[in-house]
Symmetry: D2
Subunit: 320 residues, 4 copies
Amino acid sequence: MKSLFFSFRIIAAVSIGLMLLTVGFSQNAPCETSSKFGSDDQIGNLNYVTPAKTLAAIKLVTKGKSYSLGIETNKDIPAFPPRTFSIVVLQPNQTAGTTFGPTKTTYNDDIIMGWVGVGTGIDGLGHVGIDNLYFNCNKAVDFVAPDGLKKLGVENIPPVATRGVLLDMAGYFKTDMVKEGTAFNRSEIEGAMKRQGIKSIEKGDVVMFYTGWMKLLGKDDKRFAAGNPGLGIEGAKYLASLGVAIVGADNVNAEVMPFEKGAGVSEVHQILLAKNGIYIIENMNLEEMVKDKVWESLFTLGAPRITGGVQAIVNPITIQ
Amino acid sequence: MKSLFFSFRIIAAVSIGLMLLTVGFSQNAPCETSSKFGSDDQIGNLNYVTPAKTLAAIKLVTKGKSYSLGIETNKDIPAFPPRTFSIVVLQPNQTAGTTFGPTKTTYNDDIIMGWVGVGTGIDGLGHVGIDNLYFNCNKAVDFVAPDGLKKLGVENIPPVATRGVLLDMAGYFKTDMVKEGTAFNRSEIEGAMKRQGIKSIEKGDVVMFYTGWMKLLGKDDKRFAAGNPGLGIEGAKYLASLGVAIVGADNVNAEVMPFEKGAGVSEVHQILLAKNGIYIIENMNLEEMVKDKVWESLFTLGAPRITGGVQAIVNPITIQ
Amino acid sequence: MKSLFFSFRIIAAVSIGLMLLTVGFSQNAPCETSSKFGSDDQIGNLNYVTPAKTLAAIKLVTKGKSYSLGIETNKDIPAFPPRTFSIVVLQPNQTAGTTFGPTKTTYNDDIIMGWVGVGTGIDGLGHVGIDNLYFNCNKAVDFVAPDGLKKLGVENIPPVATRGVLLDMAGYFKTDMVKEGTAFNRSEIEGAMKRQGIKSIEKGDVVMFYTGWMKLLGKDDKRFAAGNPGLGIEGAKYLASLGVAIVGADNVNAEVMPFEKGAGVSEVHQILLAKNGIYIIENMNLEEMVKDKVWESLFTLGAPRITGGVQAIVNPITIQ
Amino acid sequence: MKSLFFSFRIIAAVSIGLMLLTVGFSQNAPCETSSKFGSDDQIGNLNYVTPAKTLAAIKLVTKGKSYSLGIETNKDIPAFPPRTFSIVVLQPNQTAGTTFGPTKTTYNDDIIMGWVGVGTGIDGLGHVGIDNLYFNCNKAVDFVAPDGLKKLGVENIPPVATRGVLLDMAGYFKTDMVKEGTAFNRSEIEGAMKRQGIKSIEKGDVVMFYTGWMKLLGKDDKRFAAGNPGLGIEGAKYLASLGVAIVGADNVNAEVMPFEKGAGVSEVHQILLAKNGIYIIENMNLEEMVKDKVWESLFTLGAPRITGGVQAIVNPITIQ
């Protein structure tokens, strides 16, 4: 099948051309996933994280205590099949106890083989689409390549320093761990806000849902991976209407599972990522923040800039 | 060679035991790489990043402008041989245009195959040692395993929010790009500080050296990888004496290359990582910070928590 | 996007069901790629390699000289983009010169990260299809999974010991190296046979085309990968009519590149793999066999049985 | 740690030089692992597989029935820790049901991430050593590199077509499955030969031990991996004295586990690979050959030629 080498570009161009003719996309008509930030936009609601927004978030810091929201990534973390993950540590050129130079230098190096979506991860805007239409009218045939996305890759994610809002849904439901399948919609979101004294959710905010679900990790991984409480469709639309930049949760999907009655497959992901340019972070460790009641904080994130990456393994830091 | 399966643990225990007898390590005598934070310490000078330190750094933020210090990681970035890097993007279970459910969900996923030390990376404290002795008296035979470090792995790196100090060495040397082999020692460090009006370098600080070296990337990769200006041995000891937590630079090694006359192989790495518990970040993009003259800022870092990892691909965020 | 975890199987079943309704496949009507060996067949024309066929091939051996037809697989071999290949050698648990037991055992181990289609490879019957219809009426949605093919995987390839027929196309064209784009059709095949005194090509044979193309490898890799002489459409149909089991060549594609006028993309691959259950081996080293004029020989192949593999890296052995 | 980039070669040369001075290897004195085929030899006893030997083996074929001796390689096969294995199948550039050209070409491709020593594998002569001395006086520091062996790599394994001798050890011990820890030494080997009417084992032969152990695979993987009957030290020396080229077995180690009393760790591997240039094949499927009582056959093997590989995933073919 190496013959494609020669003719692929021409053929692909032709077939994409035909496809465009057939499907009849028009540059003038706005598509279902168009960005409010213009046709060149690749970062969606992270556009709302302006210096003013950052400066306001900085003012939330009163104690200087930092929180690491990443869980560990390794071969044992439950992940969406068939994702696997493996790390190898080796000592290049150090056979037989070889060391280098007069100070006897030795070193370890490491290798990763695996799927990115294992552990705490951010879904880039190229992760989920609607019938192969992704954020900002990007069609898969135009930007998805086997060696990396040509647009919407995680290397485009800008530095994030903004307000983090933590919603304690376990507290709201008066439980240690919210039951799987429990959808968080406008009523639950506003109820939790009220209970915690959070006045508003604003443009450029990161909204994090605490469900207590991390208690299962390593104890009942099967249940951990099979479902979870999380954002519902109406709730996703509500948060989108408020202009949030990122939605996260302390479970594997952030979106409620099983899906709500009548909902599409991962429709909340479609609403957030594709239709509204809102990023999703899964598997966040929010235990310590909840214990300290850190409802509003400075949220910072620097996603590793792997060119063309769909997702990124991350470790967001919040500061109280 | 699968026979080791059965007997490895016993044999390994015995041989390690013999080795210890031979080498004669004593738990009472402090070793050359012992931590000032106690025998259980795994994070070295990041212990200096206390809430008070973070709070002080927060006060440096006046404009709210954020900077992304990560360069991209991909197969074309020059890396220390034989490191390679590869990403694959695929659409699981979506052959023949298959979509999922009533809202026609589609998605991309990604895979990484490669060495961690490609692009902007932090060297964990298990990266470089002295004759197989690593930070805090950890001997390789005790904590290095082929499937990940059992101590000093990057999953232990705590949330970092501290003061970042940027030294404009190109400015100090009145050039656009400091010549390879130029060592930064106490005199150069203090000279640059004075020129920039930086009063002090303190415990828990992140010190970043700007050399202009990123201008070569993608233009003269061979020169980029073959050497660079950077920290010298006396300079490393000086920064260690000040208690810095992380040293970084905008080139491939942070340590001066070729090494100083009489220096060991990567001896600066040994001094920082092994002897002093100071982390190193290579390949930082400092161009924009220098342009804006952001000499002191809030530096934040959340390293992806891959269990047992030696290094991590990172994207530090500074805020002015 | 981990929500699919829960609902994927149901949804997939439904969407496949709908697709079947739409496309209207009927079990009764034979499909375009049906096997003459029955609806359960997964090995196509390798069914022709019977004990009688093997026994006849054994009789061709007169000198006992063996030939290795595999070229090396490594990162430098030109391969169809974006295929990459990487090997890592390490010494697990042998830091600081550790050896195991009284006889001081040491060992190396190796890791592969890469695409299978690099070097000498056999294309399995699940490699190329016609609009997602693969050999023996297998639709992609039914057997292609991200963690391996559920049918037509290379683990099904039976032991091969049959007659190998080597066609010296360079000799036929009176040249050292046949020009790229030169198609081998019935006339060229029969001409080469006549010139070499080969009486017939029969059911279960392996037909190998020598083009002299390996002379370019490592010397002009760009030309090596950009095109080659090879089997044409009429030639492919002719060989299929004779019932050959495998077609191979000493170049990257075996199929002529650029494709013949009016031909589809890799249409020869479609004719052989999908429509006729004939395997393809690319990048064979036939130099020594041609030098020795080994026109007919015993051809043996044991493809590594990686479960669900599409292709396999192989090293066929012929014996004169 | 990228500083080694610049100075590694010089330093390595120096340290290797010092090591040589210290250890005092002399080119004149034959070392413990020297080859009887000369100082350049990289293939050991496969030198005995001459055309005459092959021709004699060809004469053993009477029925034309072929046997595939490879078991499948996948993530579930028990393997020596921490070996892992993963395959990924994808459809490059075929998002949204894209096909190529007028004949609507589609295709699958596959990727491997994993350790080579999983499934049926041949141990190359660079796999096991004695205190970092490998076959033919090759010291690890001289030929082992992190990106592949510079000598003794599996790409050097010549085409194998020789006599295969199958010893039915289960039959000899009058059992279905020989107990783990049962050592096969000269007495057992000769006993089995006598029982089966095998007159001799000769130079260049492949000797395969059937133990019934494959019955455990997928049923009691823990026991399968924890030990096995196999070749003992005296037996290994005996086979070496006869000049065999390859030793194989239907279990994970071929060498008896637990090791014999007083034996070193994997000492049989050392005797075969390092001291005598005899290859080892593990995890062979010999069930069908035993059922057919194929005691002597033509054994063929073409190991995939991955440059610098330590081991290779193989599928040997025998013909009766």
